[in-house]
């Protein structure tokens, strides 16, 4: 019974709060630009509006076109079951679930890019090519970070990796590694969610887009699912960063949930700040930044392996 309640709380937190983070990012950027900005709840209105709308489907497409949005929503919901939200443990935890977590996002990527190629548009092909390229370079970083965390925790499930020992680890000799891991995970979060400086979600030039250009042809409910999926993914991938930076166990589930939500809002504001003060990188620079980050994560590993 308690297990069911925990799962329900976990999923409710994810499903209800995720779009809010997008609103916080947009609001932060608006404040930096000196505008009032859209209301915080605007993403919910957008989703509701898109779900009501009719959609248009290109004549070149097949059922694969719809598989992309479906996988985009299904995968973060499933992956969230392995990811602890702050001090709230994940509903499912077993040895090796961290690899399942990483590879589930591979499924989402496979179908998102396939659904982009399904339209037969050169722009969407271009977006897909960029997406898979940067994901290839980001994947070793994730693994390096996971190895560091696994070595510190001496366990192989995400709940144990992000357990209560982190507070002590920050003060110990492995604190530096933990700091590097946070930086690397933040870079991965920005790449995977197509954020500045790697991609600009608000750009209006198709040639420069990465994620946005892959979903040019989606409209109505499929587009709503794409946007909702992106919001869920931001929250699920942001959760480990929040836990690493706020390793607080309050003792009650309500307190834990509040700490986690506060952390997520702060992370969303941080992303908004980064988006406001940085320019978008040139496309050829992105692989270099990612390889540099891989080196950084490798260094974090060296520090804990020696």
């Amino acid at each position: 019974m308690e297990m069911l309640a925990r799962t329900a709380l976990h999923l409710l937190l994810l499903l209800l709060v995720a779009p809010l983070l997008q609103g916080v990012i947009v609001r932060t950027k608006a404040l930096f630009a000196g505008r009032v900005g859209a209301p915080l709840l605007q993403p919910y209105h957008d989703l509701a509006r898109l779900l009501r709308k009719e959609c248009v489907v290109s004549r070149t497409t097949t059922w694969v076109f719809l598989a992309g949005p479906a996988a985009g929503v299904a995968v973060p919901i499933l992956a969230a079951l392995f990811m602890p939200f702050g001090a709230l443990p994940a509903p499912i935890a077993f040895t090796g679930d961290l690899l399942l977590f990483v590879y589930l996002f591979g499924v989402a990527r496979f179908f998102t890019v396939a659904s982009a190629l399904d339209t037969g548009s050169s722009f969407e092909g271009m977006g897909g090519a960029r997406e898979v390229t940067f994901a290839c370079l980001a994947e070793p970083i994730v693994l390096f970070c996971l190895i560091v965390l696994a070595r510190i925790a001496d366990a192989l499930s995400l709940t144990a990796l992000l357990g209560p020992h982190l507070a002590a680890t920050w003060r110990g000799p492995a604190g530096l590694s933990l700091g590097l891991v946070v930086v690397c995970l933040l870079v991965v979060l920005l790449v995977e969610n197509s954020r500045i400086p790697f991609d600009d979600p608000n750009t209006h030039l198709e040639l420069t887009m990465i994620h946005e250009v892959m979903v040019l042809d989606h409209s109505g409910p499929p587009l709503a699912m794409v946007l909702y999926g992106a919001a869920l993914k931001l929250m699920v991938l942001g959760a480990p960063i929040v836990r690493l930076l706020l390793p607080v166990n309050t003792g009650s589930w309500a307190g834990d949930a509040l700490v986690f939500l506060g952390g997520m809002l702060l992370l969303a504001m941080l992303i908004g700040v980064i988006e406001s003060i940085m320019a978008r990188l040139r496309l050829v620079r992105i692989p270099q930044v990612l390889i540099g980050t891989t080196m950084l994560s490798g260094f974090a590993l060296v520090l804990v392996l020696r």
Binding site: E54, T60, A74, G120, G128, T133
Partner: protein
């Protein structure tokens, strides 16, 4: 055992009755298919009976060859290689009815089936031989019959070249194996295979290196993979499936059998194998990404997957060197399961690729496009194979890679940096996985999605024939079974690992494999989620207008030629691997304000064969002919000098 031998004989002789049948009739091919199916079923039955009995099945008969003995041994390690073999050999025979029918290929169909059966049976013999001479005999039969399958279409220059290179490499490898088994016989005093963990000291290092070279050639480890891409591309698709899915694995089997003989494994063996695996994995998939010939691309993926298997073997060897049974179990069961998995999904991919090639008449990926509409069955099978080979849940590829990952993570807990550094295999596997996703999204997207890119693709009007569809679906089910119910295989894996290395009884070997059912359950949940959401989206968009064209950013007259091609999709990634691929680019430079028609072509030749070996041997041949011209210069005084010098040398030698 009697079932096994009977099945092997049935498969071996399956092509013989067809030789006396009508050149254009269907009787011969149907009989051959029936015999192969019956043989495969009998072999599978024999293996299952042997496994159920718990002890390895043995068969020993005298043989007139000196030192030889007809000794067969069927243990769980061999069983893991034989079971996928039965499925692929049997499936290939059925597939051939639709793909290579006798009436369309009266010239080579009968020969093909004769050697197909012989190849299947010789591999069964390789996997069960318990005597060096018998092993080498079966190994040679396998090498030669595979040569005849590669050169099925011997009227094409491409097939002849592929066959020649294959034959050269197969015999270079076999030479090393002759030396290996001669040394082994000297060491043990008998040609019978020694018992597991019974060899100590002596020429262990030399044996290992010879084995790595000889078996590495067959398996296609990275610098030795040169025969693989051309041979797989030239053979008919069901022969490619057999070559790639099963024949390569005999190399892996040989390496495993050999390493099981030794009592002590030095750490550098594990490290060598691990490094070779990482190189094969990363460069195999990078070369695959740069290809635009569908079957050549799949062949490079075999190199990649052999790399993944070898990473697992390397970790298992390290586990043995450092005395960590848990690490050994995880790594070796991952490697063995990947052997099975690769046999299944690579055959599935080759079968569906064959269906595409059959329908379009081309192997160029850039000539396809939009085939999903005309070939829905093929597309679904290819998609499943692609998801499986990328190691993504819910299919079988993920399960084996997951086990190897766990082993790599386990290495980080070991004593000493010498072992802990092996954890770096995990990021390498992640890179390989990411590149594989990129490659298979490219292939699936460019082949089956979008609009047709050529007239041939636009006029495709048939899906795979039912006889081709059946084996494809059977393989798909097998992939899904391992992916969704991986726990069912755990006991077999455990006993196979125990055959390879005698387990330390103190360790509970079931514990590391315990989470397997949970991995399967996650796959089920993923499938249910996807089905539910997909069904809802489908209902919601059923009324949507579908007569609009793709949004071209305002451009009103797009053509299918404007789509992203396979080469352009891979270009961004391939350019990251410039240092190892040396892609050739021709043309493409545009100049002036109103440029005229320009052409652009890119081509990535093999990094070892076309870049090193062919130029190297060519300059060696040139050097030798230069030397011959100097030595044999046609002047009588020089020849007299040679005679005088020879006499002088002989005098000195005899005088001493």
């Amino acid at each position: 055992m009697i079932w096994f031998v009977a099945g092997m004989l049935l498969i071996a002789l399956s092509g013989v009755p067809g030789l006396f049948a009508d050149r254009h009739g269907r009787g011969g091919e149907r009989l051959a298919c029936l015999l192969v199916l019956a043989g495969s079923a009998a072999v599978a039955g024999g293996v299952i009976i042997a496994l159920a009995s718990g002890a390895p099945a043995l068969l020993t008969r005298p043989w007139t060859v000196p030192g030889g003995e007809l000794a067969l041994r069927l243990d769980p390690l061999a069983a893991l290689f034989i079971l996928p073999l039965c499925l692929v050999v049997g499936g290939g025979a059925v597939y051939g009815l639709g793909y290579w029918p006798q009436r369309e290929h009266p010239g080579n169909g009968r020969r093909f089936r004769l050697f197909y059966g012989l190849l299947g049976a010789s591999m069964l013999l390789v996997l069960t031989a318990d005597n060096s001479l018998l092993f080498l005999f079966a190994w040679e039969v396998m090498a030669v019959t595979a040569f005849f399958l590669v050169t099925t279409e011997q009227e094409r220059a491409e097939a002849r070249r592929a066959g020649f290179i294959y034959l050269v490499t197969a015999h270079a490898g076999a030479l090393a194996l002759f030396a290996l088994f001669a040394l082994l016989a000297q060491e043990t005093g008998s040609l019978h295979f020694p018992a597991a963990a019974s060899l100590a000291g002596g020429s262990a290092t030399l044996l290992f290196l010879l084995g790595l070279f000889g078996f590495g050639f067959k398996a296609g480890l990275m610098p030795l993979h040169i025969w693989l891409p051309i041979a797989h591309a030239a053979a008919p698709s069901h022969a490619s499936a057999l070559l790639s899915g099963i024949v390569l694995k005999t190399g892996i089997y040989g390496l495993l059998r050999l390493t099981s003989f030794f009592a002590v494994i030095p750490p550098w063996w594990g490290w060598t194998v691990l490094l070779l695996g990482v190189i094969s994995g990363v460069f195999g998939v990078a070369l695959a990404l740069a290809q635009h010939d569908l079957k050549r691309l799949l062949a490079y993926h075999s190199v990649e997957n052999i790399g993944i298997i070898t990473i697992g073997i390397g970790l298992a060897l390290l586990g043995r060197s450092f005395g960590l049974p848990e690490l050994t179990l995880l790594a070796m069961s991952g490697a063995l399961l990947h052997v099975v998995n690769h046999g299944l999904f690579k055959s599935l991919l080759f079968y569906s690729a064959g269906s595409v090639v059959h329908a379009t008449g081309s192997r160029e990926i850039d000539h396809y496009g939009g085939l999903l509409r005309q070939q829905p069955w093929t597309a679904v099978c290819f998609l499943a194979g692609a998801v499986a080979i990328c190691g993504l849940p819910p299919f079988n590829g993920f399960v084996s890679e997951w086990l190897i990952y766990l082993a790599a993570f386990g290495a980080s807990r070991g004593e000493g940096l010498n072992l802990r550094l092996a954890v770096l295999a995990a990021p390498a596997l992640a890179l390989i996985g990411g590149l594989a996703v990129a490659c298979f999204v490219k292939v699936f997207g460019v082949t089956f999605l979008g609009a047709p890119r050529s007239a041939a693709a636009a006029t495709v009007n048939h899906d795979a024939a039912p006889s081709m569809r059946g084996p494809m679906l059977a393989l798909l089910l097998a992939c899904a079974w391992i992916g969704l119910l991986p726990g069912t295989l755990a006991p077999l894996l455990q006993s196979a690992v125990a055959t390879w290395v005698t387990p330390v009884k103190a360790v509970n070997l079931a514990a590391p494999l315990a989470p397997l059912p949970l991995v399967g359950a996650t796959g089920w949940v993923l499938l249910i989620y996807l089905a539910g959401l997909g069904w809802w989206l489908h209902r919601r968009t059923r009324q949507a207008p579908r007569d609009v064209s793709t949004w071209g950013c305002g451009y009103a007259a797009p053509t299918p030629r404007m789509q992203y091609t396979a080469s352009s999709f891979a270009d961004l990634l391939v350019s990251q691997f410039r240092f190892g691929l040396w892609t050739e680019r021709h043309g493409g430079k545009v100049s002036g304000i109103f440029p005229t028609t320009r052409e652009f072509a890119s081509h990535t030749p093999d990094a070892v064969l076309d870049r090193v070996l062919v130029p190297g041997f060519r300059s060696l041949a040139r050097g030798c002919s230069w030397l011959r011209a100097r030595v044999q210069n046609g002047r009588v005084p020089t020849y007299l000098l040679y005679v005088a010098l020879t006499l002088l040398t002989l005098l000195i030698v005899t005088a001493r």
